[in-house]
Subunit: 450 residues, 2 copies
């Protein structure tokens, strides 16, 4: 039996979905909200999706599973432990799902969530175990974080996670491929993952749940947990109730007058262009969320759900791509979008701008005058190393701590320039005189700033 | 420029949808509710759908256009005249839509509905008109019916239809392909259509709106209008409000006890199997709607929307296919489905059955004894010819006229046996002693019965 498993990457969230097939029928695991990618892949391979399975109710994205199952006529498979607001095929430990030459066996693996399940993938004819879809349990050199359901559950879930990962290692052949949903930069991973493929055997020497004693694993995991995006709070609710179907259609076009009015009303008008283009010229009061890898993580982290949101993009394609990212975390209703030349969108009014610099320039400038420097990275990054004399306000706390930021020239940095550009736009909107340090933090040490 | 237009047939409704593409981008015209077929075709051809266009708010099916546009990120294009409950790109006469090498021009063609539009398809580079999507205006040798919006509008719409079809013929080159949505058995066609392809030039000699004088066309069309399926009344409402996304996922399984309880409560339990299999053995109180070409038309015609509906199928595939047909007309919520051996589903209780015969057998039996014969065809069919001495109750009136049906042996016929089998099951449920004439009506004359 020829069983193929294909990966559908969602690199902006550090997540993977899977399509496993025998050439005729297919099973989809943990699909993201934008199901068109899965549908296109299945059509391209000429396979019919008969089952859509979830390893857990996700906290970092809105699932596309419900809609995918409905559009394709597939059974929608969810662990029986979770009470949900939609029809599904509820499965328990030991249940088997068969379709064509594929068989999936359910393994209850609590830890990342209470009712998390993994699915082993077997050849239905021979029973050979090919792989295991581990969701947020066994990751590549890590495990799924255990604090997303609230601090009162974290300790118990961490112990459960340890035993779940150990159970996977004990019950499955070493040759089985490990196919996790999280990792690859996902905040759902307790610690950074390593590599892009692994077998169960390889994890035995590289996974903390398999190399450490239980309490050591628990202590290490808990000590390493850092802040996660605030938008996570909304995902469980949406996924439990049953997400509304996706809407990727183009936002309503807005004209310069409407842009101005929306900004004046304190709404979010988000500029998707390159951070240096934004620095060189932008609408007063607009916010810089460059459309690159971390766009949706940080926009979701800072955005108050329900606030009217309007996009500015350099093209309709850029707006479409941003919309795709936003619906993945349940930001469905956009007030509209504008594209084209900034000068046109400004309707004759002056654009705002601020300088862009690097750490070397900061070092040089500091020799001449006193400069206030703002570090917008997370606590763990700041604790490792930071620019001497800098003020530290993590980006996700900035909006609530604006009164701590002094007047005058203000240089803003992060690890790469991405978060700093968001912070700079927030501060620019407040009238601060900002300079964006668009540079890799490694260069701070090289410039003698740390 | 290589422009390809592909047809997506929905033969159960006599409708066509289209996918036009230049090899890179595509426009979809009048998609049915089950959008997976369109998505698979687009993926197979490797094209991106940028526009989904409607010729009108449909009265015979629930549109998949809104969901298709949302899943794909395409613009959703609807004639500006119709007030609708969703975001769309509203277009008016003369508007042009461009995508890749394709251009669509909007032609307001009222008649089938007030705000019906057609779209000419041009090569965007050369301006050459390749085809025209005529929806329910110019059909193959016919025109769309004009009485679906109520009798008070019919006369004006019929005159409008005449001028719309004439306008298409006058403004477009004779070589343009005519690509209608209705025909092919659709009740949306005023009269039966002929053929499966046509140019504008060919219609000039074969379309009543182009060969007849205006009043003659109007009189002929009005005289030919027959009853249309009652479910049409729901479609306009659903399409105007914006249809809910499709749900093709498997219905909940029901067991024999639940089947019995649902039948006892007077709910609809519909048996999808072959009409002769039903006659040979079925659950007492279940209804025969064989899953073949006319399934959804007649089920929709007789069904009271909102009544709990449970399916019995010989396989899960058969249930899935029935569900697909039902969602096309907005029957979304199924109480459940049962599959497998009837004897098992009957749970030990006796099956009911009735004899199957043909017109020759009726002729023979009539020579021996008095037999009551029921004609379940439409008025126009009955007027043309019928079995001498038969009672005539069109199928769609039967449920309201059961008190007119006498006791005793009752032979039931229609044009082919399909409608008669539905009628027989309705009468069997009431305790009548029925015989199903499963035969082509042509054989009635051959047997000397007319």
């Amino acid at each position: 039996m020829d069983i193929a498993v294909e990966v559908i990457e969602t690199s902006s969230l550090g997540d993977r979905s899977y399509l496993a097939s025998d050439g005729q029928v297919a099973v989809v695991v943990d699909p993201q909200r934008d199901i068109d990618r899965i549908l296109a892949l299945a059509a391209d391979r000429g396979v019919r999706i008969t089952h859509v399975v979830e390893t857990h109710l996700h906290n970092d994205y809105v699932s596309g599973g419900l809609e995918l199952s409905r559009v394709t006529g597939a059974a929608y498979v969810v662990g029986a432990g979770d009470e949900v607001g939609f029809e599904r095929l509820a499965v328990r430990d030991g249940d088997e799902l068969r379709t064509g030459g594929l068989s999936l066996r359910v393994l209850e693996t609590p830890g990342h969530t209470h009712h998390h399940v993994s699915y082993t993938l077997q050849d239905a004819t021979t029973g050979d175990v090919r792989a295991v879809f581990t969701g947020g349990s066994m990751l590549f050199g890590s495990t799924g974080r255990t604090d997303l359901l609230g601090p009162e559950h974290t300790d118990a879930l961490t112990h459960a996670q340890y035993h779940s990962v150990r159970r996977i290692a004990a019950e499955l052949p070493g040759s089985a491929e490990v196919l996790p949903t999280h990792g690859f930069g996902s905040f759902c991973s307790a610690t950074p993952t390593s590599g892009h493929a692994s077998t169960v055997e390889q994890q035995k020497t590289g996974n903390p749940a398999l190399t450490l004693a239980e309490q050591e694993y628990v202590d290490t995991l808990l000590a390493g947990l850092e802040a996660y995006p605030a938008y996570y709070a909304h995902m469980g609710v949406i996924n439990t109730r049953g997400p509304a179907p996706v809407d990727l259609s183009p936002p309503r076009p807005v004209d310069p007058g409407e842009l101005r009015r929306r900004i004046r009303q304190g709404e979010w008008v988000v500029d998707l262009r390159d951070r240096t283009a934004f620095a060189a010229g932008h609408l007063a009061g607009s916010l810089a969320f460059e459309l690159s890898t971390n766009f949706v993580t940080y926009l979701g982290w800072l955005y108050q759900y329900g606030t009217p949101l309007t996009l500015i993009g350099e093209s309709e394609d850029q707006v479409a791509e941003a919309r795709r990212e936003l619906v993945r975390i349940g930001i469905d209703d956009l007030a509209g979008a504008a594209t084209g030349e900034l000068a046109v969108l400004a309707d004759g009014r002056p654009l705002r701008s601020y300088p862009v610099a690097d750490f070397a320039a900061l070092a040089a400038a500091r020799k001449e005058r006193a400069i206030h420097v703002l570090d917008t990275r997370r606590n763990d990054e700041h604790a490792q190393s930071h620019v001497t004399g800098s003020q530290h306000v993590p980006l996700h706390e900035l909006a609530d701590r604006l009164d701590e930021i002094p007047e005058g020239e203000l240089w803003v940095y992060c690890g790469s320039g991405y978060r700093a550009s968001i912070a700079a736009s927030l501060l620019d909107r407040e009238g601060h005189q900002v300079v964006l340090i668009n540079d890799d933090f490694d260069h701070a040490a090289e410039s003698g700033l740390t």
